[in-house]
């Protein structure tokens, strides 16, 4: 029998007419990473808030580490850790005082709280800054301290709500390493993200969310294979004729073509990719359509998202720093320019 660390059944939470979470079933076995992937407003944060007892569900049930989120809320809080979207650390305390405070509130006892604070400072490379007030910390340091705070109580289940949103790429990669280490220690992790790459790298199991529902789930590979075998992507020089291009090649695919009008891109799931490349080029040429880019590759999670929802995942971080291109990066071996 598998020991499920997180289970939700028909979880529901509405805010007025907004169905923030609308019947969500999730399961994460102990020691695994469950990734909730979706754009802003998909309901990811609401789920985290329900599972960490910050918000009561309107319907359905949820258990974390065996504790019901409503009936056993108090006991549940002693076995979880939460790092929310904004670093919830006190600017007027030093890094060490912040961690010590959280340790005391987990009732670790004075010496254990202080020992855990030291461990976290070391683990997150904050030892040098331990006695400085958080006011002097950079964004990345605050996030690391916040993550440290969420781990002080040795949680069985850890919730990270968009842990790397707003971080520069280097800090993001650093945080990924830390998160992977945690999971190796046996912690169950629920991670929300709007970065497809992040879910791809960190999560064992991904639930793709949109409009308060889980629209697909599986491993990263399973999700990608849902799009079909390969994915053909092309860009027409004249954006106005993108629909025309899609129509010209539609019958070659194993599924319907997806069109992004703004960028003039067409993507088409195909079974035997290489053999139809020539045919695609021939048809477009015959139609007098000039192509500025043509590629064939394994689909990325971006493609998955597009195929599942019919719209592009919006990675609108507050900094607007990372706008995902509609076609995924990498994993695109056979790239040829026409």
């Amino acid at each position: 029998m598998r020991d499920e660390a997180i289970v939700t059944e028909g979880l529901r939470r509405h805010f007025g007419t907004i169905k923030a979470v609308d019947g969500v079933d999730l399961a994460a076995p102990a020691g695994t990473v469950l990734g909730l992937l979706g754009p802003n407003g998909a309901g990811k944060t609401t789920i985290v808030r329900i599972l960490t007892t910050l918000l009561d569900p309107d319907g359905g049930s949820a258990r974390v580490a065996g504790f019901d989120v409503v009936r056993d809320a108090e006991a549940l809080r002693s076995v979880i850790g939460l790092a929310g979207q904004f670093a919830a650390v006190d600017e007027n305390l030093t890094g060490r005082e912040n961690l010590d405070l959280v340790g005391r509130l987990y009732h670790l006892g004075k010496s254990e709280a202080s020992r855990r604070a030291d461990e976290m400072l070391e683990r997150f490379e904050l030892t040098d800054a331990a006695n400085r007030t958080v006011k002097t910390y950079s964004g990345g340091m605050r996030r690391r301290l916040d993550l440290g705070a969420s781990l002080v109580g040795r949680p069985q289940v850890l919730f990270l709500d968009e842990p790397t949103t707003g971080l520069d790429p280097r800090s993001r990669f650093g945080l990924w390493d830390v998160i992977r280490e945690l999971v190796n220690d046996g912690t169950t992790l629920l991670l929300t993200t709007q970065y497809l790459e992040e879910a791809d790298r960190l999560a064992d199991h991904i639930a793709v969310m949109d409009g308060g529902r889980v629209i697909a789930e599986g491993t990263s590979d399973e999700l990608k294979s849902r799009v079909g075998g390969d994915l053909l992507a092309l860009r027409v020089a004249d954006r106005a004729r993108v629909a025309e291009a899609a129509a010209a090649i539609a019958d070659l695919g194993s599924g319907a073509p997806q069109v992004v009008v703004e960028s003039g891109e067409v993507s088409l799931p195909v079974r035997e990719g290489a053999s139809i490349l020539a045919e695609v080029v021939r048809r477009l040429d015959a139609a007098g359509l000039e192509i500025s880019d043509l590629a064939l590759g394994r689909p990325s999670l971006d493609d998955v998202f597009l195929a599942l929802t019919g719209h592009v995942a919006e990675a609108a971080g507050e900094d607007g720093e990372e706008t995902q291109p509609p076609r995924g990066r990498g994993r695109r071996p056979a790239r040829s320019r026409a």
Partner: protein, 268 residues
Amino acid sequence: MSTVADRRPIPRRPLWWTFADAAAVTKRNLYRYVRVPTLLLFSTIQPIMFVLLFTYVFGGAIQVAGVDNYIDFLMAGILVQTVIFGSTQTGVGLAEDMSRGMVDRFRSLPMARSAVLAGRTLSDTVRNLFVVCLMLVVGTLVGFRFHAGFVPAVGAVGLALAFGLAFSWISALIGLSVRDVESAQAAGFVWVFPLVFASSAFVPVATMPGWLQAFADVNPVTITVNALRALTLGGPTVRPVLEALAWIAGILLVFVPLAVNRYRRAAG
């Protein structure tokens, strides 16, 4: 073969954790004044200005029957005004914690539900104690004296602080309800002004028009100020002090549960 694990036994939380949690939060809030001393400085300047303003600007024009020295009459009123204005900061502090995600963190921790509010109101009471002591020093410099002895003097300070604590819980409810710092700042003041000025804090109620007297007489500020006056100037103390304590207990009985309940649902 259930996917849902059986319910686990729930450990009982020891009662002393409730106090330990409140103490930890109090300490955290007080650090703020250590790290940002200007905060404390500015929260003391205003009350001191009021002492000087009322003594030297309005004092000459205000005649109070039976009191030789206006500052002796004023001090009880200005102490109560100070603790009430100080208590409006409780809501501001909580709104700030909410907007910065601190409340979410606290609410996800296995700490007492009352601790964040208790810690906040207690640390604001400690801040009030500091300001009250400073004002007594300034008051003494401009002529104020305790006329009823040491124990009533300590009682006066204690009563003022208890009154401030009760108002802190009202302010906590406001801060948790309005949620953002600017609103908490604005909302924190509007309701205390009529209470403070339509009271016996600065002038005898008998000088007000009849309709206002009706309000001022039952105003908890008047009742507490009168108790403080009895404790600082002399005279019968039992009845006014009991009346003030009854108000304090009443406010706490109503607003502590309301605020804690509001905190529980402080979902954002």
